[in-house]
Symmetry: C2
Subunit: 330 residues, 2 copies
């Protein structure tokens, strides 16, 4: 694209953003709930005004900011990583759940449950320094492709959510990720991809240890889980990390129920939102029966708690951000 043409596009984009901060959101109840809430809490002197310091917004990651089907992205990372490490672990060819993982036997893997999954996570996420793990995660995320869309996972993020994050930040909100996934898996790219710096990424963590190794200070990742930031762990993670209660929470699964309860269960203005994956054509349609991102109890709890259901199919005009290079370069 010529520089002039690029400038024109950027100007048009800026003008359009001024006109509508959420251009990929269709007019409807979800968009109205969001813009109404932001207008209310930012209106100086209004009855629902919230000072900027207290405008904390928390977002689940898997299935809320980016794709989580056909499996959590971090699980795809784990399975790839196990293959890399397998030659040094001949015992894995006989030992479950490693055998199943290496053979791609998802049924056996599923039967191993979260206990089994944790073993795989520990085997692939510990034993190296923090700097080494950052390189491993960055290399993988740069090279891996989603099996259906054949795109990098960092391209399979939701454009409407990028707009929402930006819109909130433009209105004095501080945006945080609160994910069941590993904090250190997301942090190497969260700022580039979402505009969320690593210190605003809350997630599950394994134990870490500081040591000076041959005169060089390192942090070593230990084979032990330190914190699981899921379900009732989410409000605890928020309290540990942020120390104040969010006023906006956006999730998509039963793992987000407690985060939504904590955010909206206090006096004062708050907004809870749930993304409902209803779009088999552009992405996936799933809820009560899904292994990943199951949305069951939260669906039932939404009406009585005033949580806004966002149907992907109905609420969003665009899904993924425009692919770089997909437009002709002229």
């Amino acid at each position: 694209m010529h520089r002039l043409a690029l400038s024109a596009v950027l100007v048009l984009a800026a003008l359009s953003a001024a006109a509508d901060p959420l251009p990929s959101w269709k007019d409807g109840p979800a968009k109205q709930a969001i813009t109404g809430f932001v207008t209310d809490v930012t209106k100086a002197g209004g009855k629902d005004f919230v000072p900027p310091a207290q405008r904390i917004a928390v977002f689940d990651n898997d299935g809320t900011l980016w794709i989580e089907q056909p499996m959590y992205t971090q699980l795809a990372f784990v399975l790839d990583r196990l293959k890399v490490l397998a030659p040094a672990h001949p015992e894995w060819t006989e030992q479950q759940p490693f055998k199943a993982a290496l053979e791609g036997d998802l049924a056996t893997l599923g039967a191993a449950g979260s206990e089994g999954l944790l073993q795989l996570v520990i085997a692939t996420h510990s034993g190296m320094t923090s700097a080494e793990f950052e390189t491993i995660a960055l290399d993988w995320i740069g090279a891996a492709r989603h099996p259906r869309f054949q795109q990098p996972y960092t391209q399979l993020i939701y454009q409407p959510m990028l707009e929402l994050l930006e819109y909130l930040r433009g209105n004095g909100f501080k945006t945080f990720i609160v994910s069941g996934g590993g904090a250190d898996f997301m942090r190497p790219w969260s700022e580039t991809v979402y505009g969320i710096p690593p210190e605003q990424v809350i997630g599950s963590q394994i134990a870490q240890r500081f040591e000076v190794r041959d005169g060089v200070p390192v942090i070593v990742r230990e084979p032990e889980v330190a914190f699981i930031d899921d379900q009732a762990g989410k409000p605890v993670g928020i309290q540990r990390h942020i120390g104040r209660r969010p006023i906006l929470a956006f999730g998509n699964s039963d793992g987000d129920i407690q985060m939504l309860q904590w955010t909206t269960g206090a006096p004062g203005p708050s907004l809870g939102l749930i993304l409902h994956h209803t779009d088999a054509e552009r992405e996936y349609a799933y809820d009560r029966e899904s292994h990943f991102g199951r949305l069951d109890k939260a669906l039932a709890l939404a009406p009585e708690n005033g949580w806004v259901l966002v149907s992907m199919k109905d609420a969003w005009s665009h899904l993924f951000p425009p692919t770089q290079g997909s437009q002709p370069d002229e």
Copy 2:
């Protein structure tokens, strides 16, 4: 003070700040090290330029940002709190270390060591909700007075450090507290006092649990230590919370050694600073022999690591911020 006079003072303060961002720092090697470092890392195109997102500065709290003698402020809180709780715990009159704490028997308390201290912390910091603890901490910090200075502890903070925090933030740094003290003890007032929001306060933490109690979501503080943010715990706390390595660290005791090592032990520009309490007249003079804030090994490590020693007596022209109301109101 008349409004006009106040405006004049503010204008003068602003002018003076423009001329010298660190007016309470005497000209000398410490001030030069700081301003030289900040100039280098903010100089676009310079060889030591650091992008704003990576300008992370970490500060110990006790003895670095505020007073820590004759005992850690949080220990004074613990001792006061035990007296409030004692009527409901008749067993404490016979049980150590509670008996010693209630009788002010600091020798026995000292002999009980950190294990004993931890028992007292747990007894006073758990069993309530997060909101209840916030109120308890805020009420105490508002009412308590330092035994020597007869001032609120939040007044016994160091004016030169307030100027440094502000100077760093004005140069694109993000400022964090990294304290061995309890995060939730500092967070209720850290923003008002230091301009550091709760989400940038890293400290020791006890376990917490989310529950919905009679329909109301609460976070309950549990009688169990979740994390000790001291010594080798400091770089781990930094990594868990921030996920990137600071480029400036400021401490004052041996508990800060590992944080200083982690900050300055990497290639690229970094600055480590140690406040040395050398001012018995205006505050206290202590180092190798002190029970609180012992500075021994760090003194020996400073030269070889290039950590800058800041002698309170020599480097600072003013110590505490001007007392509100100490100037005539006209």
